[in-house]
């Protein structure tokens, strides 16, 4: 007798489908440690905002690997709400938000968590020092950065990092600084300088993959792989890597993110993680790391310059001040 009131499954049972996980493939490092990724940066993409910018890092060879994408929009200078007290300077607030779908693996909530509040605070520190807030009394400048996609490495559960420092958040902060600075320039707000974000990390070499395309950074290849922990044998097997990505597969001992104003040669933000030795003989790991991050930020600055210039030229062309430029410039510039 068969049960005709219900729709039953097959009597012999089925096997659940098994999907291949994207994380099974080994990451292959194509970039040399001192090469930065190309950056796509375009301004004025959010019409209602006073100024806006979109930043994207190139999609890696494997399309399922996430990459960093974020937008920044700037509102203001606009009057402070009447409830607030008098302020002789502009008040700059920055808010960084991860989209719920931005993180690989698990979903992020809508409510701001501790990480987002922390990053927002750092972003606002980095930007506030570059904006000429004295020019805009009694006004507010609001910066909103929304992360659409990021590469992981945020220190969340299940990120599976074998004992290194997470650089995902630093990459997000550096990208947010660069993008927001371009957006502030796009909004026409007076600045002392544009801020560019840069990240650098110190890595311990492992395996043979990294050695091949390494540009000898004062290290002996191959010999020290078994891992003298940082300390006894410093500088051996420890190399500097610029713009590290969580998907690169490095074990990062220490990392630094900076906000850097290249034209003034000044820092607005310093954030380091991981332990760095300090020796008197000129091999200070902190200094090396900060200098590396500054070098990365200097290169990023060229991209911001180009993005801001592109928008400016477009504006001038619209009002007929300059003629159509000959030759296709697609906005790509080559970083060294």
């Amino acid at each position: 007798m068969t049960d005709r009131r219900r729709i039953n499954g097959p009597a012999e049972g089925t096997t659940p489908p098994v999907f291949l996980t994207s994380s099974t493939h080994k990451p292959v490092i194509k970039r040399s440690p001192t090469t930065l990724r190309k950056i796509f940066l375009k301004t004025s993409l959010t019409p209602p905002a006073t100024g806006s910018a979109f930043l994207e890092l190139p999609t890696p060879s494997n399309p399922s690997t996430p990459t960093l994408k974020l937008t920044a929009s700037v509102y203001g200078p606009r009057p402070l709400p009447s409830s607030t007290t008098f302020s002789p300077d502009a008040r700059l607030t920055a808010e960084l938000k991860f989209s719920p779908f931005s993180t690989p693996g698990h979903r992020r909530g809508y409510i701001r968590d501790g990480v987002e509040r922390d990053l927002s605070a750092q972003l606002s520190i980095a930007l506030e020092k570059s904006v000429d807030v004295g020019k805009y009394p009694k006004s507010a400048i609001d910066v909103f950065v929304s992360v659409l996609d990021c590469e992981g490495g945020l220190g969340d559960a299940g990120d599976g990092n074998d004992g290194g420092v997470e650089v995902g958040l630093m990459g997000v902060v550096a990208g947010a600084i660069s993008c927001a600075s371009a957006a502030i320039a796009d909004a026409g707000i007076e600045c002392f300088d544009l801020v560019a974000g840069g990240v650098a990390g110190l890595i311990r070499e492992r395996g043979g993959v990294v050695e091949e395309d390494h540009v000898g950074e004062g290290m002996e290849a191959g010999e020290d792989i078994s891992g003298a922990r940082h300390g006894e044998k410093k500088n051996r097997g420890i190399a500097l890597v610029l713009d590290p990505s969580p998907t690169d597969g490095y074990i990062i001992l220490a990392a630094a993110a900076v906000g850097y104003m290249a034209a003034r040669d000044e820092l607005t933000l310093v954030w380091t993680k991981g332990s760095m030795g300090r020796e008197g003989d000129g091999t200070d790991e902190v200094e090396r790391l900060v200098d590396g991050a500054i070098a990365a930020a200097t290169s990023v600055r060229l991209v911001i310059n180009e993005a801001v210039k592109e928008r400016l030229l477009l504006g001038l062309k619209e009002i007929g001040l300059i003629k159509e430029k000959a030759g296709g410039n697609d906005g790509d510039i080559v970083m060294e």
Binding site: V115, Q122, G164, L267, W271, G274, S275, D284
Partner: protein, 279 residues
């Protein structure tokens, strides 16, 4: 950010002229601080450890200005399968600032980041056999928000509490369910004397050519850059920039601040380790 220092404009009751006067006196060589301290001198503080009997380790510190911080460290046995995040979740820090609804993101992140720095060796000591581990809860209570940024007070108290944290001795085998020695006297320190100590974070402000430790709120307001430098046994384990100051700062200044922090930290460590030995 900081409880009282919500914004630079509203942070201090000082007028622009007063701030300018303060800035000038701090840029002098030798600098003159409003409370006539030397640049590396800390404000006097009262510290005691082991004050909460129901915790595994605790400490309390009071600044002269009324700022008070109490830290309690508790440990629980947990199955490895419960915390999905791996060893990263084994230490949980929680900062509670009285009178504030949200906990302070900056303070909590600074403590958690410097505690969980790779290679500190503390996570290895939390392993209990094959299936269990200790879960450490570090609860930080800032009772009366001090008139200055609480970062220094907070990490010094946390250091003291962690230094005085003892865990019951494990007597069972690795494969068994954990069974502990019921004599507290046999407890093992979370941070043994000969191992890497817990980190401390120093708040440093740079004004012109001068560097000041343990700055007051007024000094923070006129600083060029305010850095929180976390140090753990002669190694820098974290640097963060705080709100305050206008314009950027040269990289040489940042490096000098970090370098000097390491030197001062050694003195701080030795005086912190002397707490409790006197009585």
């Amino acid at each position: 950010m900081a409880p009282l220092q919500t914004s630079q404009q509203t942070g201090t009751p000082l007028s622009p002229a007063e701030l300018s006067y303060l800035h000038t006196s701090l840029t002098l060589t030798p600098p003159i601080r409003p409370d006539s301290r030397t640049p590396t001198q800390f404000r006097p503080l009262f510290a005691e450890s082991d004050i909460l009997p129901s915790t595994n380790g605790s400490a309390r510190m009071i600044w002269g200005d009324g700022g008070e911080c109490i830290v309690g460290v508790k440990a629980e046995v947990e199955k490895n399968s419960i915390s999905s995040g791996g060893p990263r979740d084994w230490i949980e820090t929680n900062v509670e600032v009285s009178g504030q609804r949200d906990d302070d993101a900056f303070l909590g992140m600074t403590v958690a980041e410097s505690l969980l720095v790779p290679g500190s060796g503390v996570l290895e000591r939390l392993v209990l056999g094959e299936r269990f581990h200790w879960k450490i809860f570090v609860d930080i209570l800032l009772l009366t928000p001090p008139l200055s940024h609480p970062a220094t007070l907070l990490t010094l108290t946390t250091y003291l509490a962690l230094r005085n944290t003892f865990l019951p001795k494990l007597v069972s085998e690795a494969a068994e369910d954990p069974v502990f020695d019921d004599d507290w006297g046999n407890g093992l320190p979370l941070y043994p004397v000969d191992r890497i100590p817990p980190p401390i974070t120093l708040l440093v402000v740079n004004v012109g050519e001068n560097i000041f430790f343990d700055p007051t709120r007024e000094e923070l307001a006129v600083g060029d850059v305010v850095l929180a430098v976390s140090i753990c046994e002669k190694k820098v384990v974290g640097v963060r920039t705080l709100e305050g100051g206008s314009g950027g700062v040269k990289r040489e200044a940042v490096k000098r601040v970090i370098k000097e922090s390491c030197e001062v930290a050694e003195e701080v460590f030795s005086s912190l380790n002397g707490v409790g030995e006197g009585d």
